[in-house]
C-alpha cells in the first residue's frame, strides 16, 4: 500500500483472507491521514468480500477510482446489493424449552405406544395370513434371513457364551472359596447359563446384529422408495419384508440359545479344569446333578418371545425412516437400544413369573 498524500493507492490482494488486515490498515489510514480517494488501479486481486469492504468505505464518503474493468463490475454488483441483516432465530428461554421438551416427550411416548400397538397388530395379521397359506410362504427370503441371523452368528455367539461363563466362573470361585464351597461354582455357572445368561447374552447380541440389520435394510429401502413401489405393485410390505424376518428369527434364536448354552457349559468345564482341578468327567456328572430339565426349558422358552420382540422392533423402526441418511442412522440406533432394553425388562418379568410358578 502506498501513500500519495490525499490519494491512497492500493496494491496487493484484497479478499476474504486478507480482510481483517486490510480493514485495520485502511480504517487507520482514514483516521490518521484524512485521505478521501482510493486509487484501485494497482489492486491485484479483489473478491466479493473485499468489494464489500470497499463499498462500506464508499458509503463513509471515500471515493473509489481507477478500478480495472473486472473489479469495477464486481464493485457495481456488490455495492448495488441491499444487504439486509440476517434474522436472528427466536430466543426461547431455557425453562420454557424444558417444558416444551417435556410436553413433546410425553406426546411422543403416547404416539409411540399407539404406533407400536398398530404395528404389532398388522404384523400378527400378516404372519397369520402367510402361515395359513402355505404356498405363499416366502421360503427363499426366510432361508436367507436364517442364514444371516443364525448361521453367521454362530461363531460370535459361541465366543460370547464361553467368555461369559468364564467370567461368571471366576467370580463364583472368588466368592465361594472363603466358604470352602468353590466346587459349587460349577452349579452356579451351569444353572445361570441355562436359565438366564445364555438366552440373555445371545438375545442382546442378536438384537445388536440383526435388530440393526433389519432396521437399516428396511430403512434404506424406504429412502429409495422401494416400499412405495411394493405398495403400488400390490405387494404388502408387511408380508414381504417383516414376516420373513420374524419367522427366521423365531427359528434361529432358540437354536442359537441352545448352542450358547452348550458353549457356556464348555466354558464352565474349562474353568473347572483350570482352576478347580475338576476333570471333565467329574464336571459332567456335577452338572447332571445340579441342573434339571426345567432350567433348560426356562431359558429356551424365553427365546422365541425375545425373537419376536427383536424382529418387530427392528422392522418397525426401519419402516419409520423418513427420506434421509441421518434418519436411517437414528432409527437403527433406536431399534437396537429399544430391543436390548425390552429384552432385559422382559427377562426380569420372566424371572418373576417363573419364580411364582415355582419352576
Amino acid at each position: 500500500m502506498n501513500d500519495g498524500g490525499k490519494r491512497l493507492t492500493l496494491e496487493g490482494v484484497l479478499d476474504v483472507h486478507t480482510l481483517q488486515h486490510a480493514k485495520l490498515l485502511l480504517t487507520q489510514q482514514l483516521k490518521t491521514s484524512k485521505t478521501k480517494v482510493f486509487d484501485l488501479g494497482k489492486l491485484g486481486a479483489l473478491d466479493s468480500t473485499g468489494a464489500l469492504l470497499l463499498c462500506g468505505l464508499r458509503e463513509q464518503g471515500v471515493e473509489l477510482t481507477g478500478a480495472r474493468a473486472e473489479h469495477q463490475r464486481l464493485l457495481d454488483l456488490v455495492c448495488g446489493l441491499k444487504l439486509a441483516t440476517l434474522p436472528k432465530p427466536a430466543q426461547v428461554p431455557r425453562w420454557r424449552q424444558l417444558v416444551i421438551n417435556l410436553g413433546k416427550g410425553a406426546d411422543d411416548v403416547w404416539r409411540d405406544a399407539y404406533a407400536v400397538i398398530a404395528f404389532v397388530a398388522l404384523a400378527a395379521n400378516a404372519t397369520g395370513r402367510v402361515l395359513l397359506q402355505w404356498r405363499r410362504l416366502p421360503l427363499p427370503s426366510i432361508s436367507r434371513h436364517v442364514a444371516e441371523t443364525g448361521i453367521d452368528a454362530l461363531p460370535i455367539v459361541a465366543l460370547m457364551a464361553v467368555m461369559i461363563s468364564i467370567v461368571i466362573g471366576y467370580q463364583g470361585v472368588a466368592q465361594l472359596r472363603p466358604y470352602g464351597g468353590e466346587e459349587f461354582t460349577v452349579n452356579l455357572v451351569a444353572v445361570s447359563m441355562l436359565r438366564e445368561m445364555g438366552v440373555l447374552v445371545t438375545s442382546i447380541m442378536v438384537a445388536g446384529r440383526s435388530g440393526s440389520a433389519f432396521a437399516a435394510e428396511i430403512g434404506v429401502m424406504r429412502v429409495r422408495e422401494e416400499i412405495d413401489a411394493m405398495s403400488v405393485m400390490g405387494m404388502d410390505p408387511m408380508e414381504m419384508l417383516v414376516v420373513p424376518r420374524l419367522l427366521a428369527l423365531v427359528i434361529t434364536l432358540p437354536l442359537l440359545t441352545f448352542f450358547s448354552d452348550l458353549m457356556g457349559l464348555a466354558g464352565g468345564a474349562a474353568i473347572a479344569a483350570g482352576i478347580l482341578d475338576i476333570t471333565p468327567l467329574q464336571y459332567l456328572s456335577r452338572v447332571h446333578s445340579a441342573v434339571s430339565v426345567d432350567d433348560l426349558t426356562v431359558g429356551l422358552v424365553k427365546a422365541p418371545v425375545f425373537a419376536i420382540l427383536i424382529a418387530l422392533v427392528g422392522c418397525m423402526h426401519g419402516l419409520r425412516v423418513s427420506s434421509s441418511a441421518e434418519s436411517v442412522g437414528r432409527e437403527t440406533t433406536r431399534a437396537v437400544v429399544k430391543a436390548i432394553f425390552l429384552v432385559i425388562v422382559l427377562d426380569a418379568l420372566f424371572s418373576i413369573l417363573f419364580e411364582r410358578l415355582g419352576v
Partner: protein, 251 residues
C-alpha cells in the same frame, strides 16, 4: 381413465391442493407441471393411492380408488418412481418378473421371455437382465424401472419426473420411449415433470399446478394463458428453447 374430484391436501396449515379436479382421457399423455414445491409429487401420490387426500376422491378406469384391491391395482397401473425404486436385492430381470410371478402361475421360462420382451421394449440390451440395480447408470435405471412398470401391461402408467437426473441424450430417449408406448400400446400416461421439453414434445395436454389449483389445456393453448406464473413458466428463456426443440423434432 383417471379422474380426481375435489382433492384437498394439507400439511399442517399449508394447503397444497385446494379442491383440485382432474380428468385424464383414455389414451392420452398428460403432463403435470409446476414449480418446485408446488405439490406435484403429492398429487401423484394421491392419484396412485400412496396418500389419502384430506378431502376428495380419485377413481381409476371408472372405479373408486379405495375399492380397487392390491392385485387389481397392480394389473391396472404401473408406476415409475423418480429414483427408479428398483428392488436392490434383485437383478433387473427378477425385478421385472416379480409382479408377473405374483399375478400369474406362469412357469419361470415363460416369465423370463416376458421379462426379455419388456427389457427390449424399454430399449435395454438383454444382458442388462442379470445386472443388479447398483451396477446400472442413471438412464438404464429409469429404463429398467420403466420395463418393470410395464410388466403386467397396465392400462395407466404414472411417471414421476421421468427425465430428471438424465443427460440430454438420455432424456430425449425417455421422451421417445414414452411417446412410443403411448402410440403402440395405447397406454394412458400421467407424468409429473418440470422438464419443459417433455411437456412440449410428448404431452397431449398439460396440467399446470399453481397456488393449489390446476389449469389444464394443450401446451399450445397454455402458451397464451393470461395467468402470469404460467406465462413466465412457459415463456421464460428455457421455455422458448424447449418449445423450439420440441416442435423442431416434430411433435
Amino acid at each position: 381413465m383417471v379422474s380426481a374430484r375435489g382433492i384437498v391436501n394439507r400439511f399442517g396449515s399449508e394447503v397444497v391442493h385446494d379442491k383440485l379436479s382432474l380428468d385424464v382421457m383414455p389414451g392420452e399423455v398428460l403432463g403435470i407441471a409446476g414449480g418446485s414445491g408446488s405439490g406435484k409429487s403429492v398429487l401423484l401420490k394421491t392419484l396412485i393411492g400412496l396418500r389419502r387426500p384430506d378431502a376428495g376422491e380419485v377413481s381409476l378406469a371408472g372405479q373408486p380408488l379405495a375399492s380397487i384391491g392390491p392385485g387389481e391395482k397392480a394389473a391396472l397401473i404401473g408406476v415409475l418412481f423418480q429414483q427408479g425404486a428398483l428392488f436392490s436385492s434383485l437383478s433387473v430381470a427378477q425385478n421385472i418378473m416379480l409382479p408377473v410371478a405374483r399375478a400369474t402361475d406362469l412357469p419361470s421360462g415363460e416369465q423370463e421371455r416376458i421379462a426379455a420382451m419388456k427389457l427390449e421394449l424399454a430399449g435395454l440390451p438383454a444382458d442388462t437382465g442379470t445386472k443388479f440395480p447398483s451396477e446400472l447408470s442413471g438412464g438404464m435405471i429409469k429404463r429398467a424401472a420403466f420395463a418393470r412398470a410395464l410388466a403386467l401391461d397396465p392400462r395407466i402408467l404414472f411417471l414421476d419426473e421421468p427425465t430428471s437426473d438424465l443427460d440430454p441424450l438420455a432424456a430425449a430417449g425417455i421422451d421417445e420411449l414414452i411417446g412410443q408406448m403411448n402410440r403402440a400400446l395405447g397406454i394412458t400416461i400421467v407424468l409429473v415433470t418440470h422438464d419443459l421439453t417433455t411437456l412440449f414434445s410428448v404431452c397431449h395436454r398439460a396440467a399446470i399446478l399453481v397456488d393449489g389449483k390446476l389449469t389444464v389445456d394443450t401446451p399450445q393453448r397454455l402458451l397464451k394463458s393470461p395467468n402470469p406464473w404460467i406465462h413466465d413458466f412457459l415463456h421464460g428463456a428455457r421455455g422458448e428453447l424447449a418449445r423450439r426443440q420440441a416442435t423442431g423434432k416434430g411433435n
